[in-house]
């Protein structure tokens, strides 16, 4: 499958949006305006945008700690500034500032939230997929997991159960080559992690995670399969994060030249070349996308900077569904 010009242009804009969003997050994280640890998805935009584009609003999404991009694209356009405000820890954030970068969720678009215990939501995802079957809907569940996260025991319990019960789950294994400082080849026996799925009689496919069209094609097929009752699929998206593990990590563990070689494979650059070379899109049209996105992201930043802090009393709300806990 190849995307039409308009489709590809739309996905191009999605990717640029992620990139610009992350650049601003990085800037304000380095300044100290954004508190806590930030994991940036720069370099992985094709995987994130491609997964988001393959899902419908009622599909259940479990993004990961590096998943701002999927969160952003899944949310309603008018809520996107609130994704950033959440990362800033502001009252106007999608979750009132109580979750931050690692815990943004938006139930109205079935973004079930990311999570800071790696592998934990890999089993939670069984439950949303189970609910689809129980309730006879065709909503699929897409769970993002890194190459490192595949080390967790929950991955096995989840895959075993999903494969046995043919649950509608997409295991989106985002292989960006590292878990913090550790290359996946040092901690896993397979040369491609997708092989792991074969042990469960589940299709495992390696995808060029920096090629938006390849991502959409493979993901779309797997979504379709799951929707039709064909059970889970594991997709291994090969990609690379340009920044360190968290914003500020110097990433000294990367061999010289590696980053540069991956920058050659920049998913945005690749899509732009395709747009211009194959679809004859003009430089000015591309520039218009960038201008639009710049303005858009700038508006998120302004919104976030201007938003008030949460009310301290909100700290004790919703610990339980029915009873209050003691405040100060």
């Amino acid at each position: 499958m190849t995307l039409s010009k308009d489709q590809l242009l739309q996905r191009y804009e999605d990717m640029v949006l992620i990139r610009r969003f992350e650049e601003e997050v990085e800037k304000y994280s380095k300044k100290g305006t954004i508190p806590g640890f930030i994991h940036l998805g720069i370099g992985q935009e094709a995987t994130q945008a491609g997964i988001a584009a393959s899902l419908k609003e009622t599909d259940y999404k479990f993004p990961d700690h590096r998943g701002h991009g999927i969160i952003l694209l899944s949310s309603h356009p008018e809520d996107r500034k609130r994704v950033m405000a959440e990362i800033f820890g502001k009252r106007t954030g999608l979750n009132g500032g109580r979750g931050g970068s690692m815990h943004v969720n938006d139930l109205k678009v079935r973004d079930m939230g990311n999570n800071a215990i790696q592998g934990s939501t890999v089993v939670t995802a069984l439950g949303t997929a189970f609910a689809s079957v129980y309730n006879h809907t065709d909503d699929v569940t897409a769970i993002s997991m890194g190459d490192g996260t595949l080390g967790e025991g929950t991955c096995h319990e989840s895959m075993n159960m999903a494969a046995t019960w043919k649950l509608p789950i997409l295991y989106c294994l985002i292989n960006n080559h590292y878990a913090i400082s550790t290359r996946y080849t040092e901690t896993h026996p397979q040369s491609q992690l997708a092989e792991w799925a074969q042990g469960y009689c589940v299709p495992g496919e390696v995808v060029d995670g920096n090629d938006i069209e390849a991502v959409i094609e493979a993901t779309g097929r797997a979504v379709q399969r799951a929707r039709e009752g064909g059970g889970p699929t594991l997709l291994e998206y090969m990609t690379y994060r340009w920044q360190g593990h968290f914003s500020g990590d110097p990433a000294a563990y990367r061999p010289a030249g590696e980053l540069e070689s991956w920058k050659e494979k920049d998913p945005i650059k690749r899509a732009r070349e395709k747009l211009m070379d194959a679809h004859g899109v003009a430089e000015s049209e591309i520039q218009a996308v960038h201008d639009r996105v710049d303005a858009e992201v700038e508006s998120y930043v302004q919104f976030s900077l201007e938003s008030p802090d949460p009310d301290p009393a909100y700290a004790t709300a919703h610990v339980y569904a029915d009873i209050e806990v003691e405040g100060r």
Binding site: R98, S120, T124, G127, S158, V319, A321, I323
Partner: protein, 325 residues
């Protein structure tokens, strides 16, 4: 209400009646469907509702994780973990996932689920099938820990746990399964977060949960002969705890003995002892006493296990010491 059934049967009935009432309720766990559960608690459910009872692999993290996800979608999972000791292998799912979902989702969704688990000692099954696990859980905001002591409570509290929008770890003491008691046939629920005053008295308060309520009752009878009137409080919900009932009882009696099956250190007795001395210090006529098991893993041989578990005589002794102080 004169029908007498066992604790197990009461639980089974609660499940049947709630499943009848609410089709969002389902049961899941190892051997809970076709076999009806290792302790028979889910018996007959799969026969009636083959699409609402699920036998799983030995995958406790997946059982609890699936339940969390399904709960957030509006279903009401009742997961069985068989022995409560197995909470160890799915602890993350309980404390870092289930317990925090309501907070994360700002009350828009929550882990409205029940994790049933068989707790406590006495059946000679040693280290890994005999622990009292409530201290693992009672320190985690967002969780509810329910611990019935009678068949009547078993049914009523299981029903309210299923209906609760919070994640409830429902502890069933294996020593109670065969205990009989009066249980209404109709569906009813008992309030969570509310302790029960099992017996009123003015001289001394005994707080005890699960099988320890039986010790407390026996001791109260015995002490009554000596002219000591004990008030027995059974928390029913261990966490969040009904402090008021305990504190006001001690304000009246001035004396407190806590009976707890698990080791003394950091058990529920620790918290109850502390909150009482904080809140009603001036009323305390004697030091708070705790009767507990020894601080060891639970050994296998009957003489060893019996040595470790709390001794009834120590309950009497503690009460008499409190009175004599």
């Amino acid at each position: 209400m004169s029908r007498t059934i066992t604790f197990s049967k009461a639980l089974n009935e609660a499940l049947h009646q709630e499943m009848e009432r609410d089709e969002k309720v389902f049961v899941i766990g190892e051997d809970v469907a076709k076999m009806g559960g290792d302790f028979g608690i889910t018996s007959g459910i799969w026969v009636k509702w083959p699409d609402r009872a699920f036998d799983t692999a030995l995958s406790e993290a997946a059982i609890v994780g699936l339940s969390c996800g399904a709960a957030v979608c509006g279903l009401r999972p009742v997961a069985e973990l068989m022995f409560a000791d197995f909470i160890g292998v799915c602890y993350d799912q309980i404390v870092n996932n289930a317990a925090k979902l309501c907070y994360m989702y700002e009350g828009k969704a929550s882990a409205q689920m029940v994790v049933r688990a068989v707790t406590g000692g006495g059946i000679r099954c040693a280290y890994h099938h005999s622990q009292c696990v409530e201290p693992w859980l009672m320190n985690v905001p967002g969780l509810v820990v329910v611990a019935p002591a009678t068949p009547y409570e078993a049914k009523g509290l299981l029903v309210s746990s299923i209906r609760s929008n919070n994640p409830v770890v429902f502890l069933e003491h294996k020593g109670l399964y065969n205990q009989k008691g009066e249980v209404p046939e109709e569906l009813y629920s008992l309030p969570l977060y509310q302790a029960n005053v099992e017996r009123s008295g003015k001289d001394l308060t005994i707080v005890a949960a699960m099988t320890m309520v039986n010790f407390a009752r026996r001791a109260a009878e015995e002490l009554a002969k000596e002219g000591v009137e004990c008030e027995i409080i059974n928390p029913r919900t261990l966490f969040p705890l009904d402090k008021e009932t305990i504190v006001s009882s001690v304000a009246k009696t001035g004396r407190l003995v806590i009976v707890q099956e698990g080791p003394k250190f950091m058990g529920y007795g620790a918290e109850i002892g502390s909150l009482v001395s904080e809140d009603v210090f001036e009323y305390l006529k004697a030091p708070v006493k705790r009767v507990t098991s020894l601080g060891t893993p639970i050994p296998f041989a009957p003489v060893l296990e019996d040595e470790v578990l709390p001794h009834y005589d120590d309950v009497l002794k503690a009460c008499r010491e409190a009175m004599a102080f």
